[in-house]
């Protein structure tokens, strides 16, 4: 078939249908015909017609306008051309109002109808090309909802592809709001476990005992209220992936239990005596420095190495500022449609302000800022004034609540933080702390802080 655009002709007169179809077939189109509205709608449900010619007057069943409305309901993209033997202004207006693309009076000149068909199909072709290009463009930046053109993030996305089908445990590190769960999802949904469950557990949200029964399930009578056996998240994730968020917050006992699951792939339900076997890939995430926690004895070293088979470090948003415009545009499109508000985009001054902001809450904070701006925006485009409050926020000194700890502990934390920020560079860390290198070495020794260059 020369042209990949099927056409439907709906008319109760067989001669009309057949002759019109024959004429269009000479032009290379695939043409189907329907003797009434019902049949026409049925065919439209099954095939995506580029054009539907529908006769206005069909004595039995649905008339032309009803048929057109029903076709447009099932195929909003279809162009309907209403055919009539008598031109009346009222019906023409009604047909166009209800969404007819054109209205033609039969018999018409072959040139008229040929031009009409090619005009509509030209438009269809452009629309479909546009959709394809949009998809291509979207694919360029998106990867399971991760939007980036930052080289480090792109490297991470490549890594997620490479490791997607392995069973190895992954540890994702990054500040809050950097998209640790999105990366975990990207790993899961790109691999051979994609069809199986992806189960999320936030370890910080639950107390030790609750988290234990949440992870491993429990047997009937294991504790008050355990009226029936319940499967835990590990069992639910069997064959798939379990994502343990905020792993740095789990208790020493659970660390031990977790280690056992990772080593042996089996565990006991709370109150149970029968081992349960699972095949769940573990992806853990934390915003803490687990190596440091290990050093301080707060996190089991063996568990750390079990988890840290593949490590992914997500950069904070302030280190990938080139993504801010992309992310902002994406959030504007998504949130404005979710909120049903027509916002066409962001002005350059507003974008400048967003790029300049430091984003301690990372991508999540950006998302919230865009949502707040959309809610308060009144002129169809996000302008500087819609996000101007960010500027005041930046000027205000961060409120720092002094923790109730000994002064030495504060000093220790300040040194650890400075070293982390400067990737273990002693010269830079000492400069940041305002002390000289020898003093820093002295303090490292005193607080037993390990460092690496």
């Amino acid at each position: 078939m020369k042209k990949n655009w099927p056409i439907l002709v709906v008319d109760d007169e067989e001669v009309m249908c057949e002759s019109m179809a024959a004429w269009l077939r000479e032009d290379g189109y695939r043409v189907d015909i329907a003797p009434n509205g019902q049949k026409g709608v049925e065919l439209a449900k099954a095939s995506d017609y580029a054009i539907c010619f529908v006769d206005l007057k069909m004595p039995e069943g649905m008339d032309g306008i009803e048929t057109m409305m029903e076709i447009r309901r099932v195929r909003p993209e279809a162009s309907v051309i209403i055919i009539t033997a008598y031109a009346t202004v009222d019906t023409a207006i009604q047909a166009m109002k209800e969404g007819a693309q054109e209205y033609i009076v039969k018999p018409c000149n072959p040139q008229e109808i040929s031009m009409l068909v090619s005009r509509i199909l030209k438009l269809k072709k452009l629309q479909s090309e546009n959709a394809i290009l949009r998809k291509k463009l979207a694919r360029q930046y998106r990867h399971h909802d991760i939007i980036t053109k930052n080289p480090r993030m792109e490297e991470i996305l490549r890594l997620t592809q490479e490791i997607a089908s392995l069973r190895s445990t992954v540890l994702i590190r990054g500040e809050s709001g950097t998209g640790k769960e999105l990366v975990a999802r990207a790993v899961h949904f790109s691999g051979n476990r994609a069809e199986k469950p992806f189960i999320v557990v936030s370890c910080a949200a639950l107390t030790e005992t609750l988290l234990e029964s949440e992870l491993f399930g429990y047997e009937r009578g294991a504790f008050t209220g355990a009226n029936a056996q319940a499967r835990g998240k590990f069992e639910l994730a069997d064959g798939g992936t379990i994502f343990l968020d905020e792993i740095g917050d789990i208790s020493p006992k659970l660390q031990g239990d977790l280690l056992r699951v990772l080593q042996e792939r089996r565990f006991y339900r709370v109150g149970g005596s029968r081992e349960v076997e699972v095949d769940a890939r573990v992806i853990a995430a934390t915003n803490k420095n687990l190596a440091e926690q290990v050093h301080q004895g707060r996190f089991r070293e063996d568990l750390y190495y079990r988890l840290n088979v593949i490590e992914i470090n997500l950069p904070p948003l302030r280190d990938r500022r080139e993504d801010i415009p992309l992310l902002a545009e994406h959030f504007v499109q998504r949130i404005s449609s979710e909120l049903g508000k027509e916002i066409s985009g962001i002005t350059a001054p507003a974008l400048k302000l967003l790029i300049a902001h430091d984003w301690p809450g990372n991508v999540r904070e950006l998302e919230n800022v865009i949502e707040r701006a959309i809610v308060t925006c009144h002129n169809g485009v996000l302008d500087e004034q819609d996000v101007s409050w960010l500027r005041h926020k930046d000027l205000t000194a961060p409120v720092w609540e002094v923790p109730d700890v000994p002064l030495e502990e504060l000093e220790r934390q300040a040194i650890v933080a400075a070293l982390e920020r400067k990737q273990g560079n002693i010269k830079e860390a000492s400069a940041a702390l305002g002390i000289d290198r020898s003093t820093l070495y002295d303090k490292l020794k005193r607080y037993e802080i390990s460092h690496r260059n």
Partner: protein
């Protein structure tokens, strides 16, 4: 070898039938024979439009298809139409055995001009190549000079050459070399 049959529907000048026979013989490697002229049935006439319904005439052609025929081309001098369109130069079944052309609108006289035999012959040849091309599976060609290009008015017919473009010609040739010309 199967045969392409030509049949006049109503009065058609002998010379027109000869032009057609000539043109077909030049392009198609089939035997060509003429059937006796037929009378156009009354039921094909639409008194409101003062035209003949092409669909009825195509039906009549389909009914008279000789058993040894590969294609049957009807030729008429009456003005053809279908319900949707105000006129037709001709009609064909794409990849089917039957086609029909009308000489009526190919004549200069139809447009109030003096009769011109050369012009008429040229237009008849183009229409014959066009409709027979359809019966051998060709659809409209984008090359305006090709006989298979769509003509919705007489000027467009005059712009065409009395031949197929290279691509359509080749497609036709392939069709015959693979012996697909037979219509089951």
């Amino acid at each position: 070898m199967k045969t392409l049959y030509l049949v006049a529907m109503g009065d058609v000048p002998k010379q027109v039938m000869e032009w057609i026979e000539h043109a077909a013989a030049e392009w198609l490697p089939v035997a060509i024979r003429r059937l006796e002229a037929r009378v156009i049935p009354e039921r094909a006439y639409d008194p409101k439009r003062k035209q003949y319904q092409s669909v009825e005439m195509m039906k009549m052609l389909a009914e008279m298809l000789p058993p040894d025929s590969c294609r049957l081309l009807g030729v008429t001098d009456v003005d053809l139409a279908i319900p949707m369109l105000s006129f037709l130069f001709g009609q064909a079944q794409v990849d089917g055995p039957v086609a029909l052309i009308s000489v009526c609108r190919l004549r200069q006289e139809f447009y109030g001009l003096r009769a011109d035999e050369d012009v008429l012959r040229s237009r008849v040849v183009k229409e014959v190549l066009h409709e027979l091309g359809h019966t051998f599976g060709l659809v409209h060609c984008d090359d305006p000079k090709c006989a298979m290009s769509l003509a919705t008015h007489i000027q467009r017919v005059d712009e065409k050459d009395e031949q197929y473009c290279a691509q359509c010609g080749l497609q036709l040739l392939k069709r015959f070399s693979s012996q697909e010309a037979e219509v089951s």
